[in-house]
């Protein structure tokens, strides 16, 4: 249908024809609002959350980091099983807990966490990783089988730094690299990454 009514019986809103969608708590509501602003369809500048001028305590920063991470997970929750998601949240709660957080460390950034989620859905990983963090706010995913270890530091923008320690008989082999996420499996290929990712009974995808 391409016809547009010139004089509607009842205007849908008092504002111009292109109406602003109703309130929603979804991040995608914000995406839509931003897209519409870019297209010049709305002139509102209405962030949804108050920004305080005072510096925030560590507890507040970690809370925000946890909340942002869980919201990110919600954006891909349809690809995760409930059990996997719940256990993953428990790991996040333990990691981003003020009592055990090194006060000199930056909280995990949202962009780093976004890379982690895309990693976990790309690979695809059946076994949840252990979760850690660097001092500069990058989340770290780790898998260990016996003495063999894989560690992946998630940087913003789908970049990962990976490190492997592997033992064949008694010989130790180490390898490190930094790569774009889409090429990670190719880079890990020679080291049999399925030894770490394979399911032990805990599946990622629902």
């Amino acid at each position: 249908m391409t016809e547009v009514s010139a004089s509607p019986v009842r205007p849908h809103r008092e504002n111009p024809f292109i109406a602003i969608p109703s309130v929603s708590a979804s991040e995608y509501a914000e995406s839509i609002r931003t897209a519409m602003m870019r297209a010049g369809l709305t002139q509102e500048v209405r962030p949804g959350v108050a920004v305080s001028a005072r510096s925030r305590s560590l507890e507040e920063q970690l809370f925000d980091s946890r909340a942002a991470a869980k919201l990110r997970v919600a954006s891909v929750a349809m690809h995760l099983s409930t059990a996997w998601r719940e256990r993953f949240f428990a790991q996040l709660d333990a990691l981003l807990n003020a009592e055990d957080w090194d006060r000199l460390d930056e909280p995990i950034s949202e962009k780093s966490f976004a890379t982690l989620l895309r990693l976990l859905l790309l690979v695809p990983v059946k076994r949840r990783p252990g979760l850690g963090a660097t001092s500069d706010g990058h989340v770290v995913a780790m898998w260990t089988v016996g003495k063999n270890r894989l560690t992946i530091e998630c940087l913003p923008g789908d970049v990962v730094r990976w490190a492997i320690v592997q033992y064949v008989d008694r010989d130790r082999d180490t390898a490190v690299g930094e790569t774009a996420l889409p090429r990670l499996l190719d880079r890990l290929g020679p080291y049999n990454p399925q030894q770490w990712f394979a399911d032990e009974g805990t599946e990622a995808s629902g």
Binding site: P21, S22, A29, R46, P47, A67, S75, A77, H79, E86
Partner: protein, 225 residues
């Protein structure tokens, strides 16, 4: 949505909902005014209510000066669960705010369609959506972004109106995928008797479902299976 409710009353609503929604954040709107004659810039912050959520951030209630909204993020537990949450929040709101007629009621579903690319660089929007912009007579290169919105009376029941919006999600949440948003907002203005509220909301859902089915193609439908 109805008459304006003061901040103190909103806070009382928040306190009553705290058990289910322990996490509460203030919401504010910032208005930036630039006086181009005198060169004065002013920033005004206006309280806009509260955002409440469960600890896992999936269930959310927005308590605002003119109404209350209940939201659910993925994973979606089904209509009856969402409805129960909304009803519970509404009962608290109703018990603490002055009686006023319901002026607006609506439901809004923001769907994200994740399309696997399989190595391709793009998709034809009309393979997945019946609601999309067309620029085929203007340019041969694929669009890199778009937003399209239309408002019109709902075909099945013209008492209701809808805002349909669609846009591209960038970056897509999944690697080697392209993600489209399909936002269906179905609403009507009142005044509406409270006794009719939940029947009307159920009716809105049926209308939303119909609009959704009209908006998507069979190819998109398969992605939801």
């Amino acid at each position: 949505m109805g008459a304006t409710v003061d901040a103190k009353t909103q806070e009382r609503v928040v306190q009553r909902l705290k058990k289910k929604y322990p996490i509460s954040r203030n919401m504010a709107a910032f208005n930036v005014n630039i006086d181009t004659t005198g060169g004065v810039v002013g920033v005004e912050q206006q309280p806009e209510g509260f955002r409440l959520s469960t600890d896992d951030q999936t269930d959310i209630v927005l308590v605002k000066p003119r109404g209350i909204a209940a939201s659910r993020l993925a994973p979606y537990p089904g209509w009856s669960v969402l409805c129960d949450s909304a009803n519970a929040a509404w009962e608290v709101w109703k018990s603490l705010t002055p009686r006023h007629p319901i002026e607006r009621v609506g439901i809004r579903y923001i769907n994200r369609i994740d399309i696997p690319l399989g190595g391709k660089h793009g998709v034809r929007l009309d393979d997945y959506l019946n609601f999309h912009p067309q620029i085929t007579k203007i340019a041969v290169d694929p669009m890199t972004a778009y937003v399209v919105q239309a408002s019109f009376p709902v075909p099945l029941n013209k008492t209701w109106s809808t805002n349909l919006t669609s846009t591209l999600v960038t970056p897509a949440p999944l690697i080697d995928h392209l993600s489209l948003l399909l936002d269906i907002d179905v609403y009507r203005y009142g005044p509406l008797a409270e006794t009719m509220l939940w029947d009307e909301i159920d009716a809105a859902r049926i209308l939303k479902n119909d609009l959704f089915e009209r908006c998507i193609t069979d190819k998109a439908r398969k992605l939801f299976e």
